[in-house]
């Protein structure tokens, strides 16, 4: 299973970002071979549709779950159509804690 996490920095102690479309980095995590890959979010400063264009980029990686603190309406619609699960942590967590929860 491939999981995308929206992050504010590109290391394991980075916090999950407040907003999906406007985060600085995405972490693509493959739970089968336990590999992480960081990709920079190039759409973060676009005025409109930042979430949708980053969602489309992430779709190319074949993600099944997306994690962020908040998703915009257009992204919710887009992910729902493409059957991708959205996960919102209730408290601020860092990447390490998230990965630990996935692996347990």
């Amino acid at each position: 299973m491939i999981i995308a996490v929206a992050l504010n920095e590109n290391h394991t102690e980075a916090l999950v970002d407040e907003h999906f479309g406007r985060c600085a980095w995405f972490c693509i995590y493959d739970s089968e071979n336990r590999k992480t890959e960081y990709i920079e979010n190039t759409n973060r400063y676009t005025e409109e549709g930042a979430g949708c264009s980053s969602a489309k980029t992430l779709m190319q990686y074949g993600i099944q779950i997306a994690i962020a603190m908040r998703f915009g309406v257009k992204v919710v619609e887009f992910f729902r159509k493409n059957n991708i699960q959205m996960v919102i942590p209730e408290t601020q967590k860092n990447l390490e804690e998230i990965l630990k929860m996935i692996n347990n």
Partner: protein, 132 residues
């Protein structure tokens, strides 16, 4: 008899139930109830910065209806501000577009894709799941 209202689509209910004024000597007892559709209208317009036309499509109502809902929301918020009364989110003719679930174990909120097992995506437990 007036025509029945159309259901308004709402993406996600707020995860808190309202606002209270602070620093007032006499709290106004009258609570103002802001419907979920009005909350959604303010969110789409002023938070997500959509136009009324775009927002009305997302809520599955006509553009004039959306503007009416939004206007009523603004008036209610202004009333609460000026009269120092509490706002609570309740009621309204709404249907939820996306179903959100909660896992007690992981303390997360998540969606479930169609035709999938109802389990938490992180801990895979099927027991401690609540529909919100």
């Amino acid at each position: 008899m007036s025509r029945t209202k159309k259901h308004r689509l709402v993406q996600k209910a707020p995860n808190f139930s309202g606002f209270k004024p602070f620093g007032v000597q006499k709290v106004n007892d009258a609570e103002i109830s802001l419907n979920f559709e009005e909350y959604e209208a303010v969110k789409l317009c002023d938070y997500e910065l959509l136009t009324h036309a775009e927002a009305s499509v997302l809520m599955n109502v006509s553009r004039p209806t959306f503007t009416r809902v939004y206007e009523s929301a603004r008036r209610k918020i202004a009333k609460a501000f000026v009269e120092a009364s509490a706002i609570c989110f309740e009621g309204g003719k709404v249907v939820f577009d996306t179903l959100w679930y909660k896992c007690d174990n992981c303390k997360i909120t998540f969606t479930i894709s169609e035709g999938k097992l109802q389990e938490c995506p992180l801990c895979h437990s099927t027991e401690k799941i609540a529909n919100i």
